[in-house]
Amino acid sequence: MAVYELKQTLEAPSSTKGMIHWLKDNLFSTPINTLLTLSGVALLFYIIPPFLNWAVFDADFVGSTREQCTSGGACWVFIHAKIDMFMYGFYPAAEVWRLKTALALILVIVAIFKFFKSNKIRFSILTLYFIISYILISGGYFGLEHVPTEKWGGLMLTVVVATVGIIFSFPIGIIVAFGRQSDLPIIKSVCVTYVELIRGVPLITILFMSSIVLPLFFPEGVTFDKLLRALIGLTFFQAAYVAENIRGGLQSIPSGQYEAADAIGLSYWQKMILVILPQALKVAIPNLVGAFISLFQDTTLVLIIGLFDLLAMVRIAAADSYWLGMETEGYVFVTAIFWAFCYGMSRYSNKLEKQFNTNLK
């Protein structure tokens, strides 16, 4: 039998903590590790300083004419001169205020959302915004000049395509996911065929189909706007992937939930919408955000069928004979924008996933 006194809490010995120790442990622990560290540092030295020199230290940021690009670095003046093109495409300069208004309204809505938490009200506000922004951007009503979709381009077009794509692919995807789960064999096979067909072919074939073949499906008089054709193709493409993600969510719902909903007397649609879908969506959200990121990247493909998204703008802006040879600056600029959007969204998705995992507890 022995009784012990309470022990004091001491600090760790200095040889196991601190900067030197961390360096030894993480970077120089074994000869191989040391070699790797040195190679890594060499690689970084090889890449980063030259790039920084070109992009920042030797670059020209200020000015408006080509002559001001005297140093050997990047000529960001080019971007500055062409920024409207990158942002708005061929949208008439006098009407750009409408685009800026539509953008500002989003901020207003975010602020309003803090006061109205009800889902019904939020949904109505969003629908209203959708209609208002369409009127603003396209025009033709209330005295606003009509801006045909051929003039839409740049980042604005990319955002429009991505947003419309995600909004419409969502309900279609939900219905297809339900159909795939159904007991009715015909409904199930139609949905399975649709999903497997789309997932087996590249997006570009779908875009070709919707831009070349779709007009043939309708009588002579019916014309399809080029942008509309691309949107239809992209939406149906994306809906298949959304359907698969939601199906994954649906499969994770235990059958007891379906039974309990049946037992309390809910009809099929009440059961799916009130009980099953909310749970399935929660599970599927990280994958759905991933699908949105893919969609955002896929919008670049519309340049192949002749629409002028942000990526297409690089070639067009650089084709200006006054600014010949500026492709590199253009590509770097556009890469930075896309990367910022996609990386931002993937960080948001990580945050959502962590939140969801803690909610499960």
Binding site: G256, A263, G265
Partner: protein
């Protein structure tokens, strides 16, 4: 249907594919009777009570519940499920809704009750099972015993005349079993018709009017609790009682 019978099951036969899971079940339940069904796992007892509220379909025989014939007819099924409530082994509360929303879901959407009335009814029943203070919490924040009591409250909200219990305490930690059984005993004393699939023999002895033993898909023996436990007749029942009463 004979007067006073709320449930009449005649010559019920069910197959899962080739497997004959319910064999020639005949059962009559009077109003206000408390029936306990027990038997080894795989004997078909859960399947039987699920046939009563049409969660399972059957190939032969008839079931008549409170004058409604149980068959593939959405009007009849709807009326059936308003009259018959079920409590599940794994509670099956809806995790994305609060406790009170779990209870008001059906009254609001199926019975079209105004929200205020539905909430008032819900709070009354939550109080009844002793969980009123948890009304705004989510199911995952409650213990197993509490969740099961909420599930019972949820089924009470429709004021059903018949309640089915499918092994309601089997998934609970031992220390929570009694709080659920207490609620069930009180309900039994109020005069509801109850059919319970359970292994809790103490409960059966306390409130059951009849105990039924099922094995391999058929009813083997049924009797009052005293005779059932005191004087088991069939060999299969004797073996079964030995197994469950010996620990």
């Amino acid at each position: 249907m004979k007067d006073n019978n709320v449930i009449e099951i005649k010559d019920l036969n069910k197959w899962y594919g080739d497997f004959h899971v319910l064999k020639d079940i005949n059962l009559e339940v009077k109003k206000g009777e408390i029936i306990v069904v027990c038997g080894p796992s795989g004997s078909g007892k859960s399947t039987l009570i699920r046939c009563i509220n049409y969660l399972e379909q059957f190939q032969e025989g008839t079931i008549v519940v409170d004058g409604i014939q149980v068959m593939d007819d959405i009007k009849k099924i709807k009326a059936l499920r308003e009259d018959v409530a079920m409590v599940f082994q794994h509670f099956n509360l809806f995790p994305h809704l609060t406790i009170v929303d779990n209870l008001t879901l059906s009254p609001i959407w199926v019975k079209k009750q105004p929200k205020k009335d539905a909430i008032a009814t819900a709070m009354k029943f939550l109080d009844r099972v002793g969980i009123a203070e948890q009304a705004d919490k989510y199911p995952n924040q409650l213990s197993g015993g509490q969740q099961q009591r909420v599930a019972i409250a949820r089924s009470l909200c429709k004021n059903p005349s018949i309640m089915l219990f499918d092994e309601p305490t089997s998934a609970l930690d031992p220390e929570m079993v009694s709080e659920v059984l207490d609620v069930m005993i009180e309900l039994a004393k109020e005069g509801r018709t109850m059919i319970c699939v359970t292994h809790e023999m103490g409960f059966a002895k306390k409130v059951a009017d009849r105990v039924i033993f099922m094995d391999a898909g058929q009813i083997v023996e049924e009797n009052t609790p005293e005779e059932f436990f005191g004087n088991p007749e069939s060999d299969r029942l004797k073996t079964f009682l030995d197994q469950i009463l010996s620990h």
